[in-house]
């Protein structure tokens, strides 16, 4: 089945305005600008579009909350912070299909009643930023944004903001802080950005890929969109595969496609014909799945039922011969390094988990040390301003459950069992 966003695969070069218009670009906007914002929200709700940033929250619901919240002005933010290790989808969309994303931004802003939108793009992604900036100039010159969109009453100013390159800077409330000129630290929730967001005003923060789906839905309708994917997760999702497979890259697949298809048909399987030891469907924060779960459909509910998560689609594979203790130590250290430091519980949890994992790796401490992981995680559950505190748990706890032998070998010898 064809994709929705990369319907003819990833283009060889950036799609400029002329090329985008030839493929029906901005037709959705031309129609929508004559309709009411409520109709846009209804169409997106009917399509069942869910956020692609990781949480899978229904986009129509988020927009309705923002539109209905009290406030004399509203904001739309495109979140292209994308600092998850191995994720490439947002920068690819911005680099190759910037007008598709920008049209989605304009439609979203119109739907929620925003007259200002920010494009928050990871500062490291120069090509994506330049491409978006060029497209924004073209769109403004053609009156798709700026004053009096397509000659009507609606006006929208769009501004690009470079995002700091750290993981927490992509958290939605940290995004608000950065745009307000502060350091990237998440805010306590509630209140949620949809009611008290940027500069205290109702704000919708949407991921790049989420917004890229908006124009196709508005152009072709929700029934068409629901032909892709599953009833729970309609449409497609872009998955990122990295160097552990023969053909790394991004792959847009309908929700519900078996994980096996992504790994074997798209990725060409593990390099050097190695066998899979574990699959992490949403690296680096999801639970590991054993290889026998390879036929699990790529869908939010199915992944949850299998014991893991879909996240933002970075699928990592661990090959046989790889020590899981070393893998989990890297993950623990990643979260320790990325903890912004403002919540005591998160600081203590991430530091302690890293320290415990290091002790296991070095073979220090007996079996009792393994019981401490669960205790530290349980003590800190539900604490902290953002979700980072909940992220090290699934990889650690699933690794302990699936591969007790790797941990036992490290504790006994201080070395990996496979080397």
């Amino acid at each position: 089945m064809e994709g929705i966003l990369f319907s003819r695969g990833v283009p060889e070069e950036r799609k400029g305005l002329k090329n985008y218009l030839a493929c029906g670009g901005y037709e959705a906007l031309s129609r929508v600008i004559k309709a009411s914002p409520a109709e846009v929200i209804q169409q997106i709700t009917d399509a069942g579009l869910r956020g692609r940033g990781g949480a899978g929250f229904p986009t129509g619901k988020k927009w309705a909350f923002t539109r209905e919240a009290q406030g004399e002005s509203r904001y739309l933010i495109m979140n292209g912070g994308e600092d998850e290790p191995g994720s490439k989808k947002d920068r690819m969309l911005l680099e190759y299909l910037p007008h598709l994303v920008i049209e989605g931004v304009i439609l979203a802003a119109y739907a929620i009643g925003a007259s200002k939108a920010y494009l928050y793009i990871n500062g490291r992604y120069e090509a994506a930023t330049n491409s978006t900036s060029d497209a924004l100039r073209e769109a403004k010159a053609a009156s798709y944004c700026g004053d009096h969109v397509l000659g009507g009453d609606y006006s929208l100013d769009i501004e690009i903001i470079p995002a700091p390159h750290n993981y927490v800077a992509g958290e939605d409330t940290a995004v608000l802080e950065v745009i307000e000129g502060k350091i990237p630290q998440p805010r306590q929730k509630p209140p949620f950005p949809v009611t008290v967001g940027l500069f205290g005003k109702p704000t919708a923060v949407n991921n790049v890929e989420t917004l890229a789906n908006v124009a196709p839905i508005m152009l072709h309708g929700s029934d068409w969109y629901r032909k892709f994917g599953t009833p729970d997760s309609p449409g497609t999702m872009i998955f990122s595969l990295n160097d552990d497979v023969n053909h790394p890259g991004i792959y847009e697949l309908p929700f519900g496609t078996p994980l096996r298809h992504l790994i074997e048909n798209c990725g060409g399987g593990l390099k050097n014909n190695k066998k899979i030891k574990a699959i992490m469907p949403a690296a680096p924060s999801s639970a590991f799945l054993p290889p026998e779960k390879i036929d699990t459909p790529l869908d939010h509910n199915c992944m949850r039922d299998a014991g893991s998560a879909l996240g933002c689609g970075v699928v990592r594979l661990v090959s046989e011969g790889t020590c899981i203790v070393e893998e989990v130590l890297k993950i623990s250290d990643f979260f320790t390094a990325e903890c912004c430091g403002q919540c005591p519980a998160c600081r203590m949890e991430t530091n302690t988990l890293s320290m415990l994992m290091k002790k296991v790796q070095q073979g220090q401490g007996g079996d009792a040390i393994l019981e401490q992981f669960g205790k530290v995680l349980a003590f800190n559950k539900g604490k902290g301003y953002c979700n980072l505190i909940a992220m090290p748990g699934p990889p650690i706890e699933s690794a302990l459950k699936l591969f007790p032998g790797d941990f036992a070998a490290h504790l006994a010898t201080g070395k990996c069992p496979v080397i």
Partner: protein, 106 residues
């Protein structure tokens, strides 16, 4: 060897825990407590109550410690009374940290 762990994470440091460590070391040396070793600790998870000092294996936790409290803490290490007024930390957090220390995480 008895160990005196002084938190050195951001909050505790900003409240003077580096100075506390060096001042405590001076007092321990002056008292001739050769069986006490002072070590930094990365975080006890009670930052809002910092600076925090934990004595192990005694399992005593002193919170919101100031330089002027160090003489009493040193006396406690030398066999004097427990400094009750600095013992304010929630018991569940204490239990978690003491269990971690029991597993050899120092």
């Amino acid at each position: 060897m008895r160990i005196c762990l002084v938190c050195q994470n951001i909050d505790c440091k900003s409240r003077g825990s580096e100075q506390l460590m060096s001042e405590l070391q001076k007092r321990i040396t002056a008292k001739g407590l050769t069986d006490v070793e002072i070590k930094p600790y990365m975080c006890f998870g009670a930052c809002q109550e910092g600076p925090n000092i934990v004595l192990y294996p005694e399992k005593n936790w002193y919170a919101k410690v100031k330089v002027e409290d160090l003489d009493e803490i040193t006396s406690h290490l030398a066999g004097g009374p427990h400094v009750q007024r600095l013992d304010t930390i929630d018991s569940s957090l204490k239990e978690l940290i003491y269990q971690l220390l029991d597993t050899g995480v120092l």
